[in-house]
Symmetry: C2
Subunit: 327 residues, 2 copies
């Protein structure tokens, strides 16, 4: 258990280190507290023994350890108000009724990346609530046609398919068959339904069913695809902890790795903080993320920055966004 004074010292060190990125010495702390630097040093020694602080070398000031950040985040952090300008910028996005949700997310995370200098990730999926509403076909010429699928929440997916020696009637028949069987199906059940219920029917009634089936399968399953967008990647370059090219390479390649990003999802619905080794990205970063869900979309938004991250500001901003879009 930490004493009140130890907590104060830890808090000051974390805040100071986040601000200045330099190991914090006892002098700086004792100026802000009513005690001598020697006292602070004794306390710091104890905090170090508990694993909350670290030294970069024998005679350096202290730096928070991951455990130290964790303690700060769990027990000491105070959420301040967002400042007016930030809220104003974000509001202009939320108030723009022209934009689709995914645009709103991207734009608001652009703003957040700009004001925080961190990197954001949006992982967006059409919500399970989307049901198929209509499949239609527009012939372009004798060989190419466009398949268009719309969900009841207004999502649209389309794909061109090239068919040789398939009559338009054959296509229309397929469309009708599929439409009759699949309209109203939630998008995450489409794939199974196609494979087990619809494929056999088409195979029975339609010539060249394989080509047609595959084409429709593609466009129908595309609609439930996850969509990953990384915003403010270049901000990585701004932080001194990523001053060496190899670290940058590593983080950039992780940010490009879709499979890794898809894994940042979690069941939990709060705002989650993963410090250093707690996340899969890199021991040098912190990932703060939360899930969101509306009737149309669901997904995850995450902010990635150095462990020395402005925790309360990021948590505040994510919370604000989440509330706005779930509104």
């Amino acid at each position: 258990m930490l004493t009140k004074r130890q907590e104060n010292i830890l808090k000051l060190i974390v805040m100071e280190y986040i601000k200045l990125a330099k190991p914090v010495g006892s002098k700086l702390i004792c100026d802000k507290l009513n005690c001598s630097s020697a006292t602070v040093r004794n306390e710091m020694m104890q905090l170090e023994e508990m694993g909350l602080l670290e030294k970069t070398h024998t005679s350096s000031g202290r730096v928070p350890s991951e455990k130290g950040y964790r303690y700060y985040v769990d027990n000491l952090m105070e959420l301040k108000q967002l400042n007016g300008e930030e809220v104003y910028k974000l509001q202009t996005v939320f108030n723009n009724s022209q934009l689709e949700l995914s645009d709103v997310l991207n734009k608001s995370l652009e703003i957040i990346s700009e004001i925080t200098s961190y990197t954001s990730v949006v992982l967006d999926t059409k919500s399970h609530d989307n049901k198929l509403k209509e499949i239609s076909v527009v012939p372009v010429n004798s060989e190419i046609l466009v398949v268009i699928v719309v969900t009841d929440q207004g999502y649209v997916e389309h794909k061109n398919i090239e068919l040789h020696n398939v009559s338009l009637e054959e296509v229309q028949k397929t469309v009708k068959l599929i439409n009759d069987l699949i309209i109203g199906t939630p998008i995450d059940e489409v794939s199974a339904k196609l494979e087990f219920e619809i494929k056999p029917v088409i195979a029975k009634y339609v010539k060249q069913h394989e080509i047609l089936y595959n084409a429709f399968y593609d466009v129908l399953t595309d609609i439930s695809t996850k969509n990953v967008n990384v915003v403010g990647k270049n901000n990585i370059l701004k932080h001194q902890e990523f001053g060496n090219i190899d670290k940058i390479k590593d983080i950039f390649s992780k940010l490009d790795d879709k499979s890794l990003l898809e894994n940042i999802e979690e069941t939990n619905n709060d705002i989650n903080i993963y410090i250093g080794h707690e996340n899969k990205m890199s021991p040098d970063v912190t990932v703060i993320k939360t899930n969101y869900k509306t009737s149309k979309d669901e997904g995850t938004i995450a902010i990635i920055g150095p462990k020395r991250m402005d925790y309360d500001k990021v948590v505040n901003l994510l919370d604000y966004i989440k509330k706005q879009i779930e509104g």
Copy 2:
């Protein structure tokens, strides 16, 4: 005018420097030529006076100047055959008839970026040959509807619009009006036609014409939008000439700057090489680019790398791709 021997020396220096990225000394050259290092040194001195070579400091080996690269590219470069593995990889993409052209371009440039370690840019526009084929509307619910536009080459664009208190008949009427007037129009004339011919008609016959007009305007003009894609951006990090973070920041921000990328287009239809200050990106890079045109698409592909770039390989690859897609 350069003597044969001077040309040989320049060529060797350029090739050697491209390979090893270290200033080239007279010793290395005289090993490959039938003369002493002193002779080579004398020639190098002359080449330096002509501005084709540079020294990094008084007693270093020589490095090609921009003018030196230019001379090499214009007069000395020999285009070798592409190796079989590279051609094979690219062929698997070109042979995949499932893919749309823009996918083919992106995928083949991914391959090129991978084998060369350079960065590629695709700037893709629907070709002027595209003409509007059909505009249709799918109502999602009482307030949201999807507008879908298809061109005769099979391109599709869609957009959701939200309408309050607009009857479906009113919408259908608008669609019919627009369809009648605009079908068959080449996409790059759509914008003007909408503004000067169609807007007045809609204004006359349709209530709430402004909302409807704007919605249709957006989706109809989106279809002729330029599409910029940057491939292999992280490759920038691989080259020692971009070893410092500030240069990386600079180039990354240039690569993100759409307006800059849109300017890489040129009327010329050959493969163009812009070395250092000859391009607008950065004095540290070379941009090699070419235009392409098919009935459906047209645009530019460009490869960006350090000035110390493998010129003949990149030219070869671009030439190959261009021929394949224009095929």
